[in-house]
């Protein structure tokens, strides 16, 4: 019996020790999970304009959330269609041909009606292909490529707090397709071949939002207005109320 008690005691000790290990492991696991979350968490998030949205206003709210102390560079581009055509001119009877390039705004009239997916898909075509020019050549393709044209020059904002917002407003925005690029930048130092120190900026994170700005309808009637303004019953009720008040 005594041996059995000792065995029980030994087993209990083992169980207790094992649980200690188990609990000792748990915080580490949590930390690891948090670390993973932190790693995944963006330093800068674009709150407005929401990517894939279509707005009917000539002013634009810019809001960027910073999840840690950092410097962001906010730039807005208009996505434009590049048009190339061959122009022939004659100088002293000699025909000279050259390629003329013009840019036109994207017609986003139907974007809101289709769905925000249209904007997102349009955005997908905007990517590096258009910039590199390879897609420009494929102008006969079903989807036209877009080119980034600077609309609002880069604005730098530094947050010294663990949580911060950069907010601003852009006025006189014409209808079209736009892209806002938010880069988290760091200033670094390097030495040139003469050993002289110089500073340069490096981007450590990049977030984009593609959105459409549509023409404001000339007569946008609200639900409240389109309702019958004062039906007969309302008029009679009003008159009766005023008579017997």
């Amino acid at each position: 019996m005594k041996r059995f008690s000792k065995l029980i005691a030994f087993v209990l000790c083992l169980v207790t020790l094992a649980s200690t290990f188990a609990f000792a492991v748990t915080p580490a696991a949590i930390t690891t999970t948090n670390a993973a979350v932190v790693k995944k968490q963006n330093i800068a998030e674009i709150v407005s304009p929401v990517s894939g949205s279509a707005t009917k206003s000539d002013s634009l709210l810019v809001s960027v959330k910073l999840n840690k102390a950092a410097t962001v560079k906010v730039t807005i581009y208009e996505e434009k269609i590049e048009n190339r055509k061959v122009v022939t001119s004659y100088v002293s009877g000699v025909a000279i041909t050259k390629e003329a390039i013009s840019y036109t705004s994207v017609d986003v009239t139907s974007f809101g009606a289709v769905s925000s997916a249209a904007i997102t898909s349009a955005a997908a075509t905007t990517t590096k292909e258009a910039v590199s020019g390879s897609a420009v050549n494929a102008s006969s393709a079903a989807v036209k490529p877009y080119v980034d044209k600077l609309f609002v020059s880069p604005v730098y904002y530094t947050s010294k707090d663990e949580l911060g917002f950069y907010t601003g407003q852009v006025n006189d925005v014409k209808p079209g397709l736009y892209k806002m690029v938010v880069e988290v930048v760091e200033e670094k130092t390097a030495k040139d071949k003469d050993g002289k120190e110089y500073k340069y900026e490096t981007s450590i994170e990049k977030t984009e939002s593609i959105f459409a700005v549509q023409e404001k309808p000339a007569e946008e009637k609200t639900q409240a207005q389109t309702k019958e303004k004062a039906n007969a019953l309302t008029i009679i009720t009003t008159i009766l109320k005023s008579l017997f008040k």
Partner: protein
């Protein structure tokens, strides 16, 4: 002559003298323009004061807010000019045909204000609608009887013909439909958006919360301003002006009492009128022996209040210094009175001191029955505007909740103001929360 005859003659003389006395008293007190009992006794001189400031120029909207219907709001710089134009438009529309009135729900009101192009004029108090239309010469329509009071009126939609009359305090909303084909935007705003500070809904700016509007402009004057509290000591011009107004030019029947707390009180009669210069820095006047009379309504009583303030210490004399603005009006039907509360404004920003208001005037039966003045004096700053703490980051600095989402959900409003701190007026953000609490955060990082 017998004794009996003598006594009869005496009786006749006494009767004649008695009647003559009554006749003379009648002539002196009632008929003579030159001799007036009111001029012989201590009285209130406010009746003689000309209307230095008109009540309708005091009861102006706190804000004129334009909404483009897409979530952007502009607090118009020229609110008073727009208010004048809006009233002229309202009056003109009322004369051009029949106006129809129908009650609408809060949802319909919000639809018209927030989801359409609109221009709202908001007051901090309710104004009786019948007085409002009479003051601004708006032609009465049959349905107007249903609208008791308003604290806001809104021109809504790009379509021209409806005005929403709202009273936030009673939760009543009415749509007034008029026949004019003229567009309010063309008439009031000359067809374009007004200039002013832009705000957006908090959910658009932070991605959290609902309701509150968050300004996105970051440029403000940040200079702290030195202020002085008004002097109400015995020799001060303000106390003398009040004493002269309420007691007349002589102190013959006025008692002077100094108590142990440092308060100085002047008392007329058996406490019918008391004027106190209090140790806490306030000036207080009370009158209990009111004459028979009745309220002159919101605008009438407000005019009485403004005239009294002008005579008793001054009302908005210097445009470059602190200005009184009407911040509240309470009607008490049981005592037939209106109580008006005035805050102070400097350079367009409300000033918050340790005191809840700068001036309170109670007008009872058409006469001032109570006056409390605890104002400050400061001159506006001519400093340049500079970049300040953004409103969104002020919300983060708030101590209301550890979680930003809790703060955002409970935030009712955020606006700039001047807040008293260490003897200065500090330019600050003021945050109001749903539970009634308020927080102030300095516009500069060093002022947090």
């Amino acid at each position: 002559m017998t004794n009996r005859t003598k006594e009869n003659i005496k009786s006749v003389i006494i009767v004649v003298l008695f009647l003559t006395t009554i006749l003379l008293l009648y002539l002196v007190f009632a008929k003579s323009a030159d001799v007036n009992i009111k001029n012989l006794l201590p009285h209130q001189k406010q009746e003689e004061v000309l209307d230095a400031v008109l009540a309708k120029d005091v009861a102006v909207p706190k804000k004129a807010v334009y909404s483009n219907g897409s979530g952007a709001y502009i607090s118009a710089n020229e609110k008073d000019r727009l208010f004048e134009k809006a009233l002229a438009f309202f009056a003109s529309a009322s004369n051009q045909g029949t106006m129809m009135v129908s009650e609408v729900s809060l949802a319909e009101y919000e639809e018209a204000v927030h989801h359409a192009e609109s221009l709202s004029f908001n007051f901090d108090y309710s104004i009786p609608f019948s007085e409002f239309i009479k003051t601004y010469e708006i032609k009465r329509a049959s349905g107007f009887a249903n609208i008791n009071s308003i604290s806001a009126f809104v021109f809504s939609g790009s379509d021209a013909n409806n005005i929403i009359a709202a009273d936030y305090f009673t939760g009543k909303y009415f749509r007034i439909v008029y026949e004019s084909e003229r567009a309010w935007k063309d008439e009031i705003l000359l067809g374009r958006e007004p200039s002013g500070e832009s705000s957006y809904r908090i959910d658009q700016v932070l991605g959290l919360g609902a309701g509150a509007l968050v300004p996105v402009s970051t440029s403000r004057k940040t200079e702290e301003i030195v202020f002085i509290t008004e002097d109400y000591s015995e020799e001060s011009p303000i106390l003398k002006s009040v004493a002269s107004t309420v007691f007349g030019n002589n102190f013959s029947f006025v008692r002077r009492i100094h108590d142990n707390f440092g308060n100085l009180t002047f008392m007329y009669g058996y406490g019918g009128k008391t004027l106190s210069s209090n140790a806490n820095g306030s000036l207080e006047y009370k009158q209990t022996d009111l004459q028979d009379g009745s309220s002159n309504g919101f605008y009438g009583d407000l005019q009485t209040a403004v005239n009294f303030i002008a005579a008793c210490g001054g009302f908005n004399v210097n445009k470059d210094s602190t200005q009184f603005v009407l911040a509240g009006a309470e009607k008490d039907t049981s005592s037939d009175s209106y109580t008006f509360y005035f805050m102070q404004e400097l350079d367009g920003e409300i000033v918050y001191t340790e005191k809840p208001f700068a001036v309170m005037v109670r007008v009872e039966k058409g006469q001032v029955s109570s006056y409390l003045r605890q104002a400050i004096y400061a001159n506006r700053s001519y400093a340049q505007r500079e970049e300040v703490l953004q409103a969104a980051n002020a919300i983060i600095q708030s101590r209301f909740g550890f979680d930003l989402s809790v703060t955002a959900e409970n935030l009712v409003s955020i606006s700039t103001c001047y807040k008293e701190k260490d003897g200065n007026l500090v330019p600050s953000w003021m945050l109001r929360f749903a539970d009634g609490s308020t927080e102030w955060i300095g516009l500069k990082r060093s002022q947090y």
